[in-house]
């Protein structure tokens, strides 16, 4: 077998797999959004842009868009602040540092379902540890899911706990690349720790910060499992984002075209974000 045959063989397999598993489903999803389909095995009927018109006219679409933005923004802000804070602490030298570093990653390894169930158990109205602790402190009981605001805050809280380790790890790696000489020079100049953070650390972290915020923004905007397991999008749609709405259309209401249309719209919105990403970090050619 010649050198070229092997490489082209690999490439052919690669193209076939990419087309079958990534490109074809996405194209099929977009095409489904132009059909009316009431069952997954029934015959689709071409309806043009009717699904999009119906979806965009429904107030729940706009509510889901706003909810998704609030959820993504809220969870990213806290993830990034906590992540930077944790990374700064874990970058210092103290006994047991490796243990704390290890522990700080654990939430990220847990399956979403485990995190949600444990959270529900901890805040259980009767015997949850958090409920008992709140009671012991003489505070009024917290309603985690009843009001729209509380339900949103709970989903954000859980999401921040789960994905802060991602931010911490990225920043910790980046902090180790900041040359120590910069800090020493600044210290000689009599700067305070706060000044050094804002004038040395933060500017040096800026590239990784951009990547992390963009990636996290995309993933939080797409988030389905946390919200579905925690609130099912409720109460009365207060935590429903586009992913939940799309799922409900396709799998609860059997409006498959509508579900596909919502997925396509979120995809289009995210493509804008992806374009920004590639514009900031161009794909190298070699």
């Amino acid at each position: 077998m010649s050198s070229k045959t092997t490489i082209y063989g690999f490439l052919f397999v690669g193209l076939a797999v990419t087309l079958a598993l990534i490109v074809a489903p996405a194209v099929y999803a977009v095409s489904l959004s132009f059909y009316q389909m009431d069952s997954f095995v029934g015959a689709p009927k071409w309806v043009g842009f009717a699904n999009y018109a119906a979806v965009l006219q429904a107030p729940e679409f706009w509510r889901a868009l706003v909810n998704g933005a609030i959820y993504a923004l809220g969870s990213i802000v806290f993830q990034v602040i906590l992540g930077i804070g944790f990374a700064l602490v874990l970058n210092e030298v103290f006994p047991g540092r490796n243990l704390v570093r290890g522990l700080s990653i654990l939430p990220y390894l847990l399956p979403t379902v485990v995190v949600i169930l444990t959270f529900k158990w901890m805040v259980d109205g009767g015997i949850g540890i958090v409920t008992k602790a709140v009671e012991a402190m003489g505070l009024p009981p917290i309603n985690w899911f009843e009001s729209p605001g509380a339900a949103m805050a709970s989903t954000i809280l859980v999401s921040v706990w789960m994905w802060t380790p991602f931010v911490t790890t990225c920043f910790l790696a980046a902090l180790q690349t900041v040359p120590q000489s910069l800090y020493e020079a600044a210290r000689v100049d009599g700067t305070t720790a706060v000044q050094r953070f804002f004038h040395i650390t933060l500017p040096m972290l800026k590239p990784i910060l951009t990547v992390v915020v963009l990636l996290r923004a995309i993933w939080m905007f797409n988030k389905f499992d946390v919200i579905w397991l925690l609130t099912r999008g409720g109460p009365v749609g207060a935590t429903e984002n586009l992913a939940i709405l799309s799922y409900r259309h396709a799998f609860n209401l059997f409006d498959i075209g509508g579900g596909a249309a919502i997925a396509t719209i979120s995809f289009a919105l995210l493509s804008v974000a992806v374009l920004v990403y590639f514009w900031v970090f161009p794909l190298e050619d070699d």
């Binding site: 490489i7 490439l11 944790f86 158990w121 015997i127």
Partner: protein, 277 residues
């Protein structure tokens, strides 16, 4: 940033580290402790350390529920997904780094783009396709949907890995009479082993923890994987928290064990931004 000099600063640092440790680990500790309590004690006692350790919740979980079956399904799905991901991603990543050809941008671009796909953009068409093929509600369909998560990860990570690997190594092997395939198998693959391990770990993590695709693709109780099976226990089991926490602990255990044994690969993968989550 070096060693904190003054006492108050050092004290502040220790407290901050302690807070991080408790914040990160307490819910996990509580999950494990709750799973080991006597089920009767569970509903009356919130002491931080249980009076008696008991495996009753685990016994109930394994004997009275479909948990073992779901565990087996999860293992099958994750293992097949990991193996397929490793084989294809190493081929694709190698081909796109070693040859200047047209198709490669399509592959790398599509794989990177797939990172940003809304889950339902994949779930709806894959479910439709498999339902029409008569393969709805099968582990095969679920594995295919997991590959849409794990393959981009594998290609993306190994692409970076192969790019940093000098061409001279396999060229030297080829000068010595190895074929390209021989050089790939004998020189490139062994050197790529750390990268492959990272890909395997994170593919396993994605497949093992997936709830969304399993919810969509699987309908019958017999074919459920752990995350969906466990989630459905909450509704049907009139909140047997002991069993639910035991089930949660058993899902998390393989991941923690892998992390304890191979933490450097985890850090490396996370640092490379390899994981969607």
């Amino acid at each position: 940033m070096g060693r904190a000099k003054t006492l108050p600063r050092r004290l502040g640092l220790y407290i901050a580290a302690l807070v991080i440790a408790i914040y990160s680990a307490f819910p996990i500790y509580w999950m494990v402790v709750s799973s080991l309590r006597e089920p009767t004690e569970l509903l009356t006692n919130v002491s931080l350390i249980p009076n008696v350790l008991s495996l009753e919740s685990y016994r109930n979980l394994l004997e009275l529920t479909d948990y073992p079956r779901h565990f087996l399904n999860s293992v099958i799905v994750a293992v097949v997904a990991v193996l397929v991901t490793m084989v294809f991603s190493v081929m694709i990543a190698y081909a796109v780094t070693r040859q200047r050809i047209r198709g490669k941008k399509v592959i790398v671009g599509a794989m990177l783009y797939a990172y940003m796909f809304p889950p339902l953009l994949i779930a709806i068409p894959i479910f439709t396709i498999f339902a029409r093929l008569g393969l709805g509600d099968t582990l095969t369909g679920l594995i295919a949907s997991h590959l849409t998560l794990t393959l981009p990860l594998g290609v993306w990570f190994l692409w970076g890995f192969f790019k940093s690997m000098p061409f001279e190594l396999e060229e030297a092997a080829m000068v010595d009479g190895c074929t390209r395939l021989g050089a790939f198998l004998r020189v490139v693959l062994p050197l790529a082993l750390p990268g492959l391990i990272t890909v395997a770990i994170f593919s396993f993590l994605l497949s093992w923890t997936d709830y969304t695709f399993a919810l969509v693709m699987i309908g019958s109780d017999a074919n459920k994987t752990l995350p969906v099976g466990l989630a459905s226990m909450v509704g049907s089991f009139d909140l047997r928290w002991g069993e639910i926490m035991a089930g949660s602990t058993l899902i998390a255990l393989p991941l923690f064990a892998a992390f304890a044994l191979m933490s450097q690969y985890f850090i490396q993968g996370l640092g490379a931004g390899a994981v969607k989550g």
